[in-house]
Symmetry: C2
């Protein structure tokens, strides 16, 4: 697979991005990585680069605080714009950026384009519990129609098959209760669409407290709720781990006990580390577009790139086929 990597996006660019690409290129000698950035600076850092890394010239990066669409238009040579055009032209099959999420989403929509049958895209992210679960949307589409939520279920299902190797992924709908009649009008109608679609293995409503229980492989919600879930889960996990750390350092005796437990406690922290997955996937656009955390370190970049390569290059085709099949069935049902 050929992956275009935004070398300048993110708080730790370009050093951690380059280090992540180098690590991934060693693990994946059969894949290609194209670093998109300011060429001179990149080349000087990549003197002895492996043969599967190349460099593409671009200039400037779209910052976190800037208006994504306006900045893209004003700066067509920015890294994310150049990388997106490479995907559109077939020079690359996937895009990775740890820069502004808004800029990546805008570049995907304006320069790469949506999948047929998909009105709105969704950002899908893995929640790193003992029973990992794919949550979408976590922020691309804050206001959803019921049909969008059905589409997200289909996109998430295809992705879970290819990326997580789950043959028949179970899909749940985030809601405030288990019964079908719960939630606002959009969610109630989405429940009906999901329950009657033969392209989705729907397991019903899932409440917030069950998201870590392995009751579904894919959880569908609007981008507002999903964003709040993701950030609440990250914030609470960090808070509890900090409290445990505080407990361990309470006295000399507890510190000694803590030293004995350090490997185990570190393992807990590592298991819930968002960097395990390194990025979120923008689904509903042509070709995987992967959004790294803004503060990604080399390990996160490496894990994200390995994940992209693993998901394979037919994600868009498979997704369009499933979306079409689902809409075909809906039309048939309506007749």
């Amino acid at each position: 697979m050929r992956i275009a990597v935004d070398a300048l996006g993110g708080d730790n660019a370009p050093d951690e991005i380059i280090a992540g690409v180098l690590a991934a290129s060693e693990r994946l000698p059969g894949d290609e990585f194209i670093l998109v950035g300011e060429g001179e600076a990149l080349r000087s850092r990549l003197r002895d680069k492996p043969g599967n890394i190349s460099v593409r010239e671009a200039s400037g990066v779209i910052g976190m605080g800037e208006d994504p669409a306006a900045s893209l238009r004003a700066r067509p040579n920015s890294t994310v714009a150049v990388a997106a055009r490479m995907v559109r032209e077939g020079e690359a099959e996937a895009l990775f950026s740890a820069g502004s999420t808004g800029a990546s989403v805008a570049a995907a929509l304006l320069l790469i384009g949506r999948l047929r049958g998909c009105r709105r895209p969704a950002i899908a992210t893995m929640l790193p519990f003992d029973a990992p679960v794919l949550l979408l949307d976590v922020g691309a589409t804050v206001s959803c129609r019921p049909q969008d939520l059905l589409n997200f279920a289909i996109l998430g299902g295809v992705f879970a098959r290819k990326y997580l190797d789950i043959r028949d992924p179970r899909v749940g709908l985030i809601n405030v209760g288990e019964e079908p009649g719960k939630g606002d009008d959009t969610v109630k109608e989405a429940h009906g669409l999901l329950a009657t679609s033969d392209r989705v293995r729907f397991v019903g409503n899932v409440e917030g407290r069950e998201i870590s229980h392995g009751v579904a492989d894919v959880l569908v919600t609007d981008g507002f709720t999903g964003n709040v879930i993701l950030k609440t889960a990250e914030g609470v996990a960090r808070e509890i781990l900090n409290m445990v750390r505080g407990a361990v350092t309470a006295s000399a005796v507890t510190k000694l006990a803590g030293a004995i437990l350090r490997p185990q406690l570190r393992a807990v922290r590592d298991r819930v580390d968002p960097e395990n997955y390194g990025g979120s996937f923008l689904l509903g656009v042509r070709g995987p577009v992967v959004i790294g955390h803004g503060n990604s370190l080399a390990r996160g970049v490496e894990n994200a790139l390995v994940g992209i390569a693993h998901s394979g290059s037919s994600l868009s085709e498979d997704s369009e086929r499933e979306l079409a099949a689902a809409q075909e069935q809906q039309k048939g049902d309506a007749v």
Copy 2:
């Protein structure tokens, strides 16, 4: 204060409810507790009851799975209906029930009535972090208008002053980003109302990962998002604590270290225990209506009752005055 207590609501009724009332009545000899339930059974359990506990006859309870409004109409002598009518008639000033949340909300709306100036009620709950924060709504109003969110900010502010003894509570709006332009149309408009109201000390948007950081005393959101936040936070906290417990029991050596740390780790668990607050407050209706957890034990019931008594009896009056003042200002601004 006179508090009507639904003796039959909740998974552990009536024994844990009675035990909680007994404990609260000892701590609060100047307050009165009226147990509403099947009188014979209650009286036999309360042979040596203190003078500030009395019993009121009612029969039957509305279950978790039943339609709240229909059940209330069909069974006017159910415990929550009798208790609500006592508040309406002035025989009690507050209602506590650990039974069906839907039944408590319906009883409050249909039998007690809303505050003037308040279209929809909100359930407010404490998130038990190191920096505790009041979150509302967590499920009474799943679809909100912008004005509802402003009203929730005012209700939450009055409550925080009386219940949490915070003189000038900071109010945040749950959103997917910090900038004012983030979120869906409802949230954007609510941001404008909050920013211009002189009855709210508005600190701006608050993202999911900041809810435990003490950036606000009161967090406002719609009942769908709030419910998902609350349950996600509870679920993730439990998940992480389970992982820590698993780490401690990995081997004989770690178990020994865990035994040393047990008091500290238990303190962490206790600090984030939802039972610390014992209940959520339904705001926007006349007279505090407090909804206990369905699985409340005596300690949760006791804490909830102590909290109600502490918040004082002028909550409704103060809330109506603030709502009116805020709406007066809005009218003035609109002229």
